[in-house]
Amino acid sequence: MSRKFLDTESPAWVAEGLITEAQRARLLARYPPDAVQAVGLLPLLGSILVGLSALSVVAANWQSLPTTMRLGLLLGSLLAAYAGGEYFLRRGNRRVGHGLLGLGLGLFGASIILTSQLYQLVGYDVSGLLAWVVAGVLLSYLYDSQILTLLPIVIGVAVQTYCTQALGLFSYATIGLVALGSGYRWWRRPNPLVGSVLSLGLLWQAALWVALSHAKITWFFVPAMLIYAVGDWHPNRAAGRALQSPALVAAYLFALGLALFGETDQYADRLRPPVLAYLGALAAVLAASVAGKRARGSLASLPDWLLLLPGFYLPSGLPLAVATLVVLYAHAGSVLARAHRSGEAEQLTLGTVLFVIATMVAYFKLTWAFLDKSLFFLIGGVLLLSLSWYLRRRNAQRLAAGAAAVASPGHTPASS
């Protein structure tokens, strides 16, 4: 509740007899106006402007500066950023301290790149930039800071992207460092944002690997589901879900794409890796995932794997589209069933949305060719309206039952 809200609303509370004038005065005293923060911003803005001016002077004259001076400037600003970070941390200002340490890490990468450029030096592997990832991972272990944990993941993505695009090779060391280094850091201190970003970063690197090795794109799902399986083993359920959701979203989008465009042989043929190798690898990951789910008691989420059913081995055309639609329906149904059992409102909404998407895809795929256009839109609209009415009623009933159960514990909500 903001101070402004209190200021404007509290006279009415006194008038209605909710609180007395004395209580209102005490409440206002309890939340003093925070005018100090705005003043605190001024020095920050001022120093940013001064820093920008210094940066632009240096950048404009960069090529004319002597080599030693350029090197000195880079190392000097690197040392200054780290020293400033350490100084602010000692004074107890964690946010500024961690920010400056992160800036120091960024300057380290900039120093490597600009020094190579200074000598017009070309490296033929990623070893030059790998040091940046190593330094980032080590720094993330030294401090309990979200930003310093996120940085090596982002740096890893940048280095891997550069490596695959400019050097034409995949750096297994980079993905290994991020997966093991940042991954273990996350495992010890799970944080939803770090989990999702870590998962996204690793998926991006996996996608780069698939693109570079000209493998069939479905191989992407083996490393993706490996990340998912790791999420199953994490003792903290919420942390595990944060790691898993990017992989699940990718699998869902793929299944959706298959349902929409899988009919033409042109696409489907690019998706079929050698059957035994692909299914073997995926089955191994599935086994690891199931073992994790059983160990952590979360077998209810097993239907997530429905999305990974390799329907693309079916002959393309109608059989593939129909099979994918069945899978999409089964998945949406499993999410809805799980949500009804646990009574989580968010899961219920998600399941509803997935169900509606599957219905729309099915309808557009299967009836466009057979129905007159106006009839098509009429029936589709009626279908969606009735579906929304039905789902909303079920949701309301379900949530009301949950609320009744909470309101009167011990009394079974059989009547509702």
């Binding site: 090529q63 690197l78 780290y82 017009q120 030294l142 401090y143």
Partner: protein, 181 residues
């Protein structure tokens, strides 16, 4: 994991920062060492477009050795775009290096020859174009290229270190691009 700054903690940070400073100095050292211990070759270029210098601090060099006939390919399989290659360079009559062969694995050059690593960018019917990652030349403030002559042809001194790094040592204008050579 330490959450508060303690003396041992500060020591770890200082070690990490010292390692980073040493690493950057190491990169600079590799630059010097490549010139000191490396093999030196001259590469010719197409006329250099200087217009970009008004907005950027580098020019794009188009090496004559970046185009090679497919007959120079010595690999077992046909070349693929983005493939990493080893280019055997031999000095021509004008001391500028020309492509003697393109290999898909490392090799030891003969006397007077050098191996420069590069990447295939495009494969055409009879030729193939290469990239050496030396195309971007950051023009120093005192370079003659800064004097704004239109499209001069230049020759580029490249050092190749025994451990595989390469760098542009310097760039010189070719005085008479057609008559002398």
């Amino acid at each position: 994991m330490l959450t508060r700054t303690s003396p041992s903690h500060r020591l770890l940070l200082r070690l990490l920062v010292a390692a980073q400073v040493l690493y950057v100095l190491g990169v600079a050292g590799a630059g010097y060492a490549t010139t000191a211990y490396g093999q030196h070759i001259w590469l010719g270029t197409q006329p250099v477009d200087l217009h970009g210098l008004q907005y950027e601090s580098f020019v794009r060099l188009r090496y004559t050795a970046a185009e090679a006939p497919l007959t120079a390919w010595r690999g077992a399989a046909p070349p693929q775009p983005r493939q990493a290659v080893y280019v055997l360079l031999a000095p021509g009559p004008d001391s500028l290096a020309t492509v003697a062969g393109i290999y898909d694995k490392t090799l030891t050059p003969g006397a007077g020859q050098a191996v420069l690593r590069g990447w295939v960018t495009e494969v055409y019917n009879h030729t193939l174009s290469l990239r050496y990652n030396l195309e971007r030349y950051y023009v120093p403030g005192d370079s003659p290229l800064r004097l704004g002559k239109t499209s001069p042809a230049v020759r580029v001194r490249v050092s190749i270190a025994p451990w595989g790094q390469a760098r542009i040592e310097r760039v010189e204008l070719l005085r008479k691009p057609t008559a002398g050579r």
